[in-house]
């Protein structure tokens, strides 16, 4: 029961926390020549997290090794396509990154809020009053 208690919000929180770091790195390197801005495809990451991963493998022999559950985020880092090219080869566009950063912070807080509500609901159920 307790593995799925927070539903999608737990994974969404991890994804948003990872993305904060990637976007912070982009903003930090806004003036670095030849730096290429990167980002996760948030929707794809979350879709990868919620999908049950296709068909499970069956262990037909005692010697087969059981697959460990995958805890890493399934999305890979992609490079951002800039709206305008720059002379120094840098593809960071600070307004874009700032907007994405603000949006991601909201996503993080939304997930956190949902988890927080679940926790208070559970403590209400435990205390019974």
């Amino acid at each position: 029961m307790f593995e799925t208690i927070f539903g999608i919000h737990e994974r969404a929180l991890y994804a948003a926390a990872d993305r904060v770091g990637v976007l912070a790195a982009n903003i930090a390197n806004a003036d670095t020549p030849n730096f290429k801005a990167r980002d996760f495809d948030f929707k794809a990451v979350l879709a990868g997290e919620t999908a049950d991963g296709g068909l499970p493998m069956t262990r037909t022999n005692a010697g087969h090794i059981a697959l460990a559950p995958d805890t890493s985020l399934s999305g890979e880092l992609k490079y951002r396509v800039p709206f305008q090219p720059s002379l120094d080869g840098n593809t960071v566009e600070t307004p874009v990154e700032s907007a994405q950063f603000a949006e991601n912070a909201i996503r993080y807080q939304t997930s956190l809020d949902a988890i927080s509500r679940k926790v208070s609901l559970l403590s209400l159920a435990i205390a019974g009053q």
Binding site: A17, D18, V20, G21, V22, L23, A24, A25, I27, A28, N29, A30, D31, T32, P33, F35, R38, L77, T94, S98, F101, A102, A105, Y108, Q109, L112, I115, S116, V119, S120, S123
Partner: protein, 141 residues
Amino acid sequence: MSLLQVFDVASSAVNAESMRINVTASNLANAESLAPSEQAAYHARHPVFATQLKQFSSDPSLDETAVGVRVLGIVQSQATPLKRYQPDHPLADANGYVYGSNVNPVEELTNMISASRSYQGNVEVMTTARDLMIKTLSLGH
């Protein structure tokens, strides 16, 4: 990657940008400096930024998504310094010339604006990361 690494990344950028502002201040301060020879004249300095990759960093906890920025070095402008004929000047050479700096004030001021904006952006990142962490810490209260 943990939210704590955001502070490492953003502070490396704040450090680099503050060095850029420092160098700009030095250039603007010396824009009117005079010297007795072309070699001794003040040459404008500019920092070169590079990505702080994991393999060059001593911190093993940095993962590949956490890339900060570092100042690779300072380069001096190779533009020809301004030469002025002022034989009565105490720094004048045998031919009566004094040499000014090769600082371009327009370039310096735009650099300063750019550095100041980037600095503010990174401070904003740190503030947001701090708020998120404080909210996470008070989870369930």
